[in-house]
Symmetry: C4
C-alpha cells in the first residue's frame, strides 16, 4: 500500500539526512584538524554535536508519533480486546527502533553538555540503536515472503556494518576512515529504504515486484552494491565540495569563525570539556 | 510447571543482583577515579572485588545444590539404572552453568588475594562462564518447541554480547564504557529470565503462551528490546543516584572512608598489588 | 561452456598477478626497512603504489569491457524488452565486482598522489571491493546446483579472510604478517578461480565434474587446502628469491637506486607525504 | 572400528602433549619474567621453541605416515583406477590437517633460527593450521550421520577458539592470559578426540553410542563443558606445581640455569634475536 511506501521513504530520508550531513561535516573537520592541529575538539564542533543530537532525538520522536498515530496506526494499543489478539505489531517494531534512536540523540546531547559524561558513550548509544534496528529487521516476519526477507537481509548487512563501525569508534575516536565508513553505511541504509519502498509498494500503486521471479533477487543483490557505489560517489563529491568551500572560506574570513565560536560557547561547557579530555585516555587504549 | 518458574526467577535474580550492584559500583568508581586520578586501584576496591567473588561463588554453589536436590532434581544421578537411560538432564545443564560461575567467583577471589595472579584472569574466567552458558542455551533442546527456542535465542544474544564485552575487558581493563555495557547485559539477562518464566510457566498456573501464534514471537522480540531499554533506564537512574550520593558523602565525610580503607586493608595484599601493577602492562597492549 | 572457463581463468589471472607481485614486493620492502630503518615510506615505494593502482584500475576496466562486450555479453543491456525479463545477470555480477576493484585502484592512485588524502583509505577501498565480491559470490545462484555452490562457498572463505585482513590494515599499517596473509589470500583466490574453471567447464569440453558424487565435494574441500599450501610454498620461494636478489643487488649497486628514486620523485608529492605522516597518528591507535 | 579409535586417540594425544607441556611452560615463563623483568626473551626459551617446533613437525610427519600407510590406508593413492572413483578420503583429510601442523612446526623452527624472520609468523602458521583443521572438521561428512556431526561441531568450537586466540597472539605477543587460553583449548581438543573415539568406536568393540537417542546429544554437549572444566583444573594444578618447583629450584640452583643457557646458546642466534627485537614494533601496535 502507499502508506507503506511513505513509511519507507520517511525512514530513508531520516538516514539520508544524517549521511549527507556527515559527508560534509567529517571532511571539513578533517581539513580543519589538519590546518590547526592543536585544538582537536573546538567548541564550535561541540555545539554542533549538541544540535545534531537534538535533531536526531526530534526526528525519532516524530517517527514514533507518526508510526503510532498516522491512520492505520495502533494508537498506543498493543492488545486488541475485541479480537483477543495482538494488534498489527509492525508499527510497534518501528516505534521500538525509533525509541533507541531517541535515546541515542538524548545521550549525544547530554554527553556534550557541561555534565561530565565519559567519552565514547554517545557512540555506544548509537551502536546500540543500530544493533537493535538490525535485530528487529532480522527477526521481522511479515506474511509476504521471500522478496521482502531478501530486501531486509541486505538492509541488515548495511545496518550491522554501521553498528560494528560505530562500536569501534567507542575505542578509536576521531578516526577519519571510520567516520567515512559510518557515513557511507547511513547513506546506503537511507537509499535502500527508498528502494524497498519502490519494490514492495510502488507509489504509483500496483502489486510490487514479482516475488517468484529469481531474476529479481539476483538483480536486487547487485542493485544493493550499486547503491553503495552511489553512496561512495556522493561522499566523494561532497568531500571535494567541502574542500573547495573550506579553502575559499579560509581565504575570506580567516579565523573569524573560530573567534565567534569561542565568544558564543558556554564557559562552563568549555571548562568541563577541558576537564574531560585528560581522562579521554581510555578511548585510545 | 511452577517449579520451572521458580528456577527461572532464581537465575534471573542472580543476574539482576550483579547487574544492579555494578550499576552503582562502576559509576561511583568512575567518579572517584576522576576526583583523585592517582590511586586508580584503591584498596577498598580490592576488598570489594574479593567480596564480590565470594558472593558470586556462594550463589553459584547454592544454585548447584538447588538444581540437584530440590524436589524433582536428579540428586547427582546422571544415569538411571532402572530405565537404562539418562535422567532428566535439564538440572545438569544448569549445574554445569553454575559450575563455571563458581569457578569465575573463585578466580576472582584468588586473583585479588595476595597471590600474584596476572591481571585479566578474572575477566577471562567470567567470559568463559558466559560463553559456556551461551553454548548450553544454544544447544539446549527441550521437547516443547519453537517458542522456547525463540526465547532462548534472544537470551543467547544477551549472553554473547556480555561475553564479548568481558573478553575485551581482558585487554582493555577499567574502561568505563565496557563496564557499563557488561552491566546492561547482566540486567538484560536477569530480567529476561523472569520474562521466560512468565511466558513458559506462569506462576499462577496455566499452560504458558500459545506457541502457534506468530504474534507472540514478534511481540517477544520487541519485548526483548524493551527489557534492554528498561535496563538502560535503571542504569541511568542508579548512576544519577550514585552521583548525588557521592557528592553528599564527600561533603560530609571528606576522605575519612579512604583512611578507613587504608587502615583495614591487608598489608600483604597491598604489597602484592603494588608488585602486580607494573606488570599490568599486558592489558594495555 | 569454454567461455565460462575463459572468464574464470581471466579472473584467476587477475588475482594471481597481484598475489605474485606482492609476494616479491613485501619481502623486499621488509628487508629494506630492516636495512635502513629510518626512511619508512621511501619515495620509490610511493611511485610503485601509484603504478600498482593504475594497473589494478586498468585490469578492472578491461574486465568490465570483456564481461559486457565479449560475445555472449549483455552489451550494457539490463532488461530485455522483447522477453520482458532480465537479461542474463551473471556478466552484470562480474561487472559490479570489477567496478569496485576499479574504484579501489582509483583510490590507491589518488591517495598516493600529491592530494592530501588520509592514510588507510586505500586499504578501506580494497577491503570494500573484497567484501562486495564476497557478498556477490555468496548470493549468486546459478541454475546448476550443489557443486557450484560448494566451490563458491570455499572461494568466499578466501575472499572474506582477505577482506578482514585488509580491514585490519586500515588500522595496523605496514605490518609484515598482515601483508603476507593478504598476499596468500590473493594467490589462493587466483588459483581457486582456475580450479573452478576446470571443475565446472573443462577447457577440453565435456560436462564438468559429476555434482551427484559426494566424493567430489570432499575432495574439493581438501583440494582448497592444498591450493593454500601451494600459495604458501610460492610465497616462501619468492621470499627467498627476493632475499637473495636483494643481497646481490645491494652488493653491486649500493644506494644508487635510492638516489634514483629521490631524483625522479615529484617534489610536491614528497612534501605532501611529509605533511601527511604526522597525522598518520590515527592508524596506530 | 578399533582402527578409528586408535586414530582418534593418537590425534588426542598429539594435542594433549602440547597442552600439558604448555601448561607447565607458560606459568614458569611468567614467573621468571616477573622475577627478572629485563631479559624478556631468554636464550633458553629460544632453544626450547626450536625444540618444540621440531617435535611438532616430527609428530605431524609421523601422523601423515600413519594415516597413509597404516593397514586400511590409501598408500598415497587418491583415485583408484579399478573402481573409477575416489579412494576413502578420510585418511587424506587427516593427512592435510597434519601437513599444516608440519608447516607450522617448520615455521617455528625457522623463525627462532639465526634467520631474520619477522616475529608473529610462527603464531600465524599455527593459527592457519588450526583454521584449516576447523574447516576440514566442519565440512567433513561421513556416512554415519547426526551424532558424529554433533561431536565434530563441538570439536570445531574448541578449534576455532584456539585459532582466534592464536591469531590475536600475532599482534599481542607474550600475553599470559592468551597463552593460558590457547593451552586450555589444546587440552580440550586433545581430551575431546579421546571422547570421540570412545563414543564412535569404543576400544572394547561394539557399535558406539545410539545416534537416535536425543539424550546422548544433550549429555555430550554438557560433557564438552566438563572436559573444559577438567582442562582448566589440570592447568591450575600444573601452574601451582610449576610455581612450587620454580621456587625450590631457585633456592637450590640460583641462576645456574641461566648461566648454562647463555653458555650453550648459539652466538649467532643471540645476535639475530637482538637485531630482530627492535623491529618487533609492529606486534605491539
Amino acid at each position: 500500500m502507499p502508506s507503506s511506501f511513505i513509511g519507507n521513504a520517511l525512514r530513508g530520508t531520516f538516514f539520508l539526512i544524517f549521511g549527507l550531513w556527515w559527508s560534509v561535516k567529517y571532511p571539513l573537520k578533517y581539513l580543519r584538524r589538519k590546518a590547526n592541529a592543536d585544538d582537536a575538539a573546538s567548541y564550535g564542533t561541540q555545539r554542533l554535536e549538541v544540535l545534531e543530537g537534538t535533531v536526531k532525538a526530534f526526528f525519532a520522536l516524530a517517527g514514533i508519533l507518526a508510526e503510532q498515530f498516522a491512520p492505520p496506526g495502533p494508537h498506543m494499543l498493543l492488545y486488541s480486546p475485541e479480537t483477543h489478539s495482538w494488534t498489527d505489531l509492525t508499527p510497534w517494531h518501528y516505534t521500538t527502533m525509533y525509541l533507541f534512536f531517541l535515546l541515542s540523540g538524548v545521550v549525544e546531547v547530554v554527553s556534550h553538555s557541561p555534565l561530565k559524561l565519559p567519552l565514547g558513550l554517545d557512540r555506544l548509544a548509537l551502536a546500540i540503536a543500530l544493533l537493535i534496528e538490525g535485530l528487529l529487521f532480522c527477526s521481522h516476519d511479515y506474511s509476504e515472503a521471500a522478496l521482502d526477507s531478501h530486501l531486509r537481509g541486505l538492509l541488515a548487512i548495511g545496518i550491522f556494518a554501521g553498528a560494528l563501525c560505530t562500536l569501534l569508534e567507542v575505542f578509536i575516536r576521531d578516526h577519519f576512515v571510520l567516520e567515512l565508513f559510518r557515513t557511507s553505511s547511513f547513506l546506503l541504509q537511507g537509499s535502500w529504504f527508498w528502494q524497498m519502498g519502490f519494490v514492495l509498494s510502488p507509489p504509483w500503486g500496483g502489486p510490487g515486484w514479482d516475488p517468484t521471479d529469481r531474476g529479481n533477487f539476483v538483480f536486487l543483490t547487485m542493485c544493493f552494491c550499486w547503491h553503495y557505489a552511489g553512496a561512495l560517489a556522493v561522499m566523494a563529491v561532497n568531500s571535494v565540495a567541502s574542500h573547495c568551500c573550506n579553502e575559499s572560506c579560509q581565504l575570506k574570513f580567516g579565523d573569524i569563525d573560530v573567534e565567534l565560536d569561542c565568544g558564543l560557547c558556554i564557559r562552563k561547557g568549555k571548562g568541563s570539556r577541558g576537564a574531560l579530555l585528560p581522562e579521554g585516555g581510555p578511548d585510545d587504549k
